[in-house]
Amino acid sequence: MSYCRQEGKDRIIFVTKEDHEAPSNAELIADDPNDPYEEQGLILPSGDINWNCPCLGGMASGPCGSQFKEAFSCFHYSTDEVKGSECIDNFRNMQECMQKYPELYPQEEDKESTTQAESDSVAASAAQTEGSALSPETDATPSTSDPSPDSASPTDSHTAS
């Protein structure tokens, strides 16, 4: 059973698991997915890519940022049957650029194969591959409905920037 105490202006309640079993009747205001103030996910309500998404780490802002943006945009807007098949050059540019900065973009096996998979466009669904293309470690579901909580992830050594 819950147990309550008051210490001056502070109230203390101890609860057991059973006390909290019943669902809460606290009311929360429904979120507006198009709220301009909110932090957006990877894909904006307009369908554009949110380059400032924390989920991208520093990919869009580093030295190879523009190559990355080109490649990724091309893929995102590609309407080919095999999505992104016309973007191979962009991806190659991006890879060449990244190879110049091995410290920033560690050339890992699975990373390379993932990028390869992108350019070969063996993609199950656009949303999923968009998530995995970026970096295996920093994955974030690119949903627009929940505001992805923000923090400029100080990149760890595995994350491309």
């Binding site: 819950s2 147990y3 210490e7 001056g8 202006k9 502070d10 109230r11 203390i12 309640i13 101890f14 609860v15 057991t16 698991k17 006390d19 909290h20 019943a22 669902p23 809460s24 009747n25 606290a26 009311e27 929360l28 205001i29 979120d31 301009p36 103030y37 909110e38 932090e39 380059w51 400032n52 989920c55 520093g58 869009a60 802002s61 580093g62 030295p63 940022g65 523009s66 943006k69 410290e103 920033l104 470690e137 920093t138 994955d139 974030a140 579901t141 929940d146 505001p147 992805s148 909580p149 923000d150 923090s151 400029a152 992830s153 100080p154 990149t155 760890d156 050594s157 595995h158 920037s161």
Partner: protein
């Protein structure tokens, strides 16, 4: 004057009459140049018609009052005049320092073309890679920027090296071209907020050219590990590498990006796709808002299109220590930067005793970190503060007391309710004398008594400084003036939901830096996404918090019994990151490491605040939430604060957090 008034009040029947008299009298006296005061008997209902003695008393009182008033007025005016004169003298002495350099300017302005001609062949002989972009850099900046400020800036950059300009020798200094004369995006300060803004700008403005000017000699780095993870590292070279291993073995550097991320300052103007350049070891000393330019401490000027001020702050010191002289100051650390961490690490190995003054986040974290080393090094660690318990200004009293016990268990001698009166250097040791007479002897002091926001540029820039919270006063969109934004510790901003505030936390620097960067690229968004903060005090106590967490507010705490699984260690293992704010953006590991015992050990004590949620209320609305040993639920907390609703039963709200589960 006031004493006179109180004397008058003691004569009630005459008080009103005589006060009006006095006013009339003083006015008369001033007008008549101190002529005799006459009593206009006709105006008074209680006229002192009878009794010459009373009349004399009146005159005496009024005369005394007039005299006292006159003396007071005279003294005040003289004092003000003196202070004014001192200030004028002070100001007039300053231009003298600059005038020496300024006289060079008109001389060089007359021959900019000649010097430029001599510059380029000189530079061509240099073998540095700088030489190549140089001839480009000279004509290139003129294209994107209007010629007028360009010529000005070019002339002024040349004035910094008056000697080599006049004698065009091969040793034309590389320092000349290093500072670009114009930066589309200029970020003053090289800390967390600045870096977050740089990243945001680069993401949103393709090919953006961002220049970070910092006083420090380091690239941007994050501060939390300096008082947390770096102390727990097993690596003996941690002070050099500044890398820390997280619980799950993943290593990371405290620098946001390795040096190869940044481009050279001199390449900024010509970089095809832009980039972020860091100009280190330079201080911005003057800001010309009207001319959209700043001046550095070496007199170079940089003009900008958009500017961010992210100057952070400087640790406060105790007056007792500042007064105490050099021997004491030498043995005192004001902890904030990498160098402070390095020197404190050295001290912790050499000294026998360290005293930490301050019971807030930094003081408590350092105390716990050093406390853990205390047994290792035979080090005595003490922590003293004026409050009753650790985090006394943040946690409600019961929790503050509980936390203090935990801190003590980390090997720290906690001295609560301690006000430092004086510090002396005696017998090769420091002696701290407290207000209540207690004496504490130690070898080294760490002062963690707050941060003074750096608003040095406010004066020259004509920016408003907030008198309540300190820092630059900015609006809800972090804007101070048209092209100037402020973010991080130095920004006193308007939070739409919670009101005007200034926040000194890492995640706030990230959030506000990002927002400033967005607004600098045209987003026009207010501060809306609430930042969070966290703290770990030893392996058993960790919490995340959001909003206004002030112990003077009424609180409601809902607690469950803790199991062995609810510790900060378990949280970081599960999320795979040491920086708690990141666990929200990085996907939590699918299979939790769960190295903790599978069978939860239930603690039977009733008042064990193992884990729970604490709500801070202001006018019945939740304005702050602490998640006590409950992790990865920050989005729920953020939502509750964002809604700003009055909830009748906070226990129901607490249910949303599922505190009994992992």
């Amino acid at each position: 004057m006031l004493t006179c008034r109180s004397v008058w009040r003691k004569l009630p029947p005459l008080a009103r009459a005589s006060s009006t008299l006095c006013r009339v009298g003083v006015r008369r006296a001033v007008l008549n140049n101190g002529g005799p005061v006459r009593v206009p008997a006709a105006n008074m209902s209680t006229g002192p018609s009878g009794g010459g003695r009373e009349k004399q008393l009146y005159v005496a009182l009024v005369g005394a009052a007039t005299l006292a008033g006159g003396v007071y007025a005279y003294r005040t005016v003289k004092g003000d005049q003196r202070r004014y004169q001192e200030r004028i003298d002070d100001i007039s002495s300053r231009p003298l320092k600059l005038s020496g350099k300024q006289t060079d300017e008109p001389l060089n302005l007359s021959e900019p073309s000649a010097t430029e001609a001599t510059e380029t062949p000189v530079e061509a002989t240099e073998t540095e890679p700088v030489a190549e972009p140089e001839p480009e850099a000279a004509p290139a900046p003129e294209e994107p920027t209007p010629p007028a400020p360009e010529a000005e800036a070019a002339a002024s950059t040349e004035t910094t090296e008056p000697v080599p300009v006049e004698t065009p020798a091969v040793d034309a200094t590389p320092a000349l071209p290093e500072v670009p004369s114009h930066a589309p995006y200029l970020l003053i300060g090289g800390g967390t907020a600045s870096f977050a803004a740089a990243r945001s700008i680069r993401a949103r403005d393709p090919g953006a050219k961002v220049l970070i000017v910092t006083e420090e000699s380091e690239f941007p780095y994050m501060r939390p590990p300096l008082s947390k993870e770096l102390w727990f590292s097993d690596d003996s070279s941690v002070t050099e590498t500044l890398r820390f291993k997280q619980w799950n073995g993943k290593e990371r550097s405290i620098y946001f990006q390795p040096p190869s991320f940044y481009i050279q300052a001199e390449e900024l103007a010509s970089a095809e796709n832009g980039g972020v350049a860091v100009l280190s070891g330079r201080k911005v000393v003057h800001m010309d808002v009207r001319g959209n330019k700043v001046k550095l401490d070496d007199d170079t000027e940089i003009s900008y299109d958009k500017c961010l001020i992210a100057t952070g702050g400087v640790p406060r010191n105790l007056q007792a220590i500042e007064r105490a002289g050099e021997e004491v100051m030498k043995r005192t650390t004001l902890f904030r930067k990498i160098d402070d961490f390095k020197s404190l690490d050295k001290v912790s190995r050499e000294a026998k005793s360290i005293a930490i003054i301050g019971g807030g986040f930094l003081g408590s974290e350092l105390a716990c970190a050093l406390g853990r080393k205390s047994s290792e090094f035979g080090l005595e660690v003490m922590q003293m503060f004026p409050e009753k318990g650790n985090m006394g200004k943040v946690l409600p009293e019961y929790l503050s007391n509980w936390t203090t016990e935990k801190v003590k268990k980390e090997g720290v001698q906690v001295i609560a309710e301690a006000l430092v009166k004086s510090v002396t250097f005696k017998d090769d040791r420091l002696e701290i004398k407290l207000r209540d007479g207690r004496l504490v002897q130690t070898d080294h002091i760490v002062a963690a008594v707050g941060l003074e926001p750096n608003v040095d540029l406010a004066k020259s820039a004509g920016l408003e400084v907030d008198s309540d919270f300190g820092g630059f006063r900015v609006n809800a969109e972090l804007q101070a003036r048209s092209n100037i934004w402020v973010a991080g510790d130095a920004a006193c901003f308007y939070d739409i939901r919670l009101g005007r505030r200034r926040v000194e936390h890492h995640d706030h620097a990230v959030v506000s830096g990002r927002l400033a960067g967005e607004n600098m690229t045209g987003a026009n968004k207010p501060y809306w996404h609430q930042s969070m903060f966290w703290s770990d005090l030893g392996p058993d106590v960790g919490y995340e918090a959001i909003g206004i967490v002030d112990s003077s507010l009424p609180t409601v705490g809902v607690f469950a019994k803790a199991t062995a699984k609810d510790t900060p260690r378990a949280a970081t293992e599960e999320s795979g990151t040491g920086i708690r704010s990141e666990s929200e953006t990085e996907e939590t590991a699918v299979s939790p490491v769960a190295s903790s015992t599978p069978a939860p050990a239930l603690v039977q004590q009733r008042d064990n605040y193992g884990k729970g949620v604490i709500f801070y209320l202001r006018d019945k609305v939740v304005v702050g939430i602490i998640l006590w040993n409950v992790f990865n639920r920050m989005p729920v907390a953020r939502k509750i604060i964002k809604d700003g609703e009055e909830h009748a039963d906070l226990n129901e709200v607490a249910k949303l957090f599922n505190i009994h589960e992992d």
